[in-house]
Symmetry: C2
Subunit: 158 residues, 2 copies
C-alpha cells in the first residue's frame, strides 16, 4: 500500500523498440487534491480505481490503494470525473530488475513523454536506459492529476 | 447505478422498537465536491467505497457506484480522508414495501437523527411511520458530506 516511484523525462523514442508490451490508457480524476487523489482508469480492456495519498517530502513514496473493477463501471465513473480526462499510450520496458513504464501523452498533453520506475525500496539501484532523460520525481506539474488541469500544451516555454 | 432516495427528520425514538437490525457506521470522505463525492465506510465488519454524482434538481436521484472492500482497507483509507469522519448508529426498519434507515449521529453530529428511504421509482408511494418528521430531501446541509465539514452541533438555532 506504499508506492515508491521515480519519474524521468525521455530523450528519444528508442524505448519503443525495447518495449515488450503497450496499451492505451484513459483516465479521469474524481479528486485531484494533493492529500488524496482518486483516479479511475481504463488500461486496455481492464478497469481500475486508485486512491493515492500525499507524496512524501522527497516526492518518492506515496500511499496507494487500488482495485480492479469492470471496464463498463470505469466508463460510467469517467462521466462524472473532473474535466480533463487523460489519454496516453503506455510502453512497458524491462531494465535490469525494474519495469519502466513510458507514457506517451495524447490530446492536450501531446508531446509529453514520461518514464516511471516503480521500486521496492527508496535507495534501490536503477539501471538507466540511454533514452532516460532528466529526473522529475516529485515535480507536481508532471503528476497526472495536475496534467488533467494544466495540460502540457498550455505550459509556457515548452 | 441510480440512487433514488428521500430523507426525513425523526420525531421520536419509536423506530428503535420497530428496528430489525442495527449497526455502527464509521465513514470518511475522499472528496466532498457536490459533483462527485467519494466515501469510504465501515458498516459493522463490512467495508465499502462509494462514489456519488450530483443530485438532480429535486434532490431525489443521484448516480451511485459502490463496491464492497475489506474492512482493513477502509481503515487505511480513512487515515487519508478529509477531516471530519462521521460516526453514527443505523437502525433498519421495514415500512410497507420499503426499508427505512434511521441514522443516529454521534460525535460532532450528536443530536441529529435522520431517516432515509430508498425507492425504485421517483413517485413511489411511501407508507410513512408515525415517527417520521419533516422531509429534508435535497437539503445540502443534511448530506453526510456536508455534515463532515459543518457538523450539526455547530449549526445556529438548533
Amino acid at each position: 500500500m506504499l508506492e515508491i516511484e521515480r519519474k524521468f523525462l525521455v530523450k528519444s523514442d528508442a524505448y519503443r523498440m525495447e518495449a515488450f508490451d503497450k496499451k492505451e490508457i484513459i483516465q479521469g480524476f474524481l479528486n485531484t487534491h494533493p492529500d488524496r487523489t482518486v483516479r479511475v482508469r481504463l488500461s486496455g480492456n481492464k478497469g481500475f480505481i486508485t486512491v493515492k495519498g500525499r507524496t512524501d517530502a522527497e516526492g518518492i513514496t506515496r500511499f496507494e490503494w487500488e482495485r480492479e473493477i469492470p471496464a463498463v463501471e470505469v466508463r460510467a465513473l469517467l462521466e462524472i470525473c473532473e474535466p480533463g480526462v487523460i489519454r496516453k499510450v503506455r510502453y512497458l520496458v524491462r531494465s535490469g530488475e525494474h519495469l519502466v513504464e513510458v507514457d506517451e501523452f495524447a490530446g492536450e498533453n501531446e508531446g509529453l513523454v514520461v518514464a516511471e520506475i516503480e521500486m521496492n525500496e527508496i535507495n534501490e539501484f536503477i539501471l538507466k536506459p540511454d533514452w532516460l532523460g532528466d529526473e522529475v520525481t516529485g515535480e507536481p506539474k508532471y503528476y497526472n492529476s495536475q496534467l488533467s488541469k494544466k495540460p502540457y500544451t498550455t505550459w509556457k516555454n515548452v
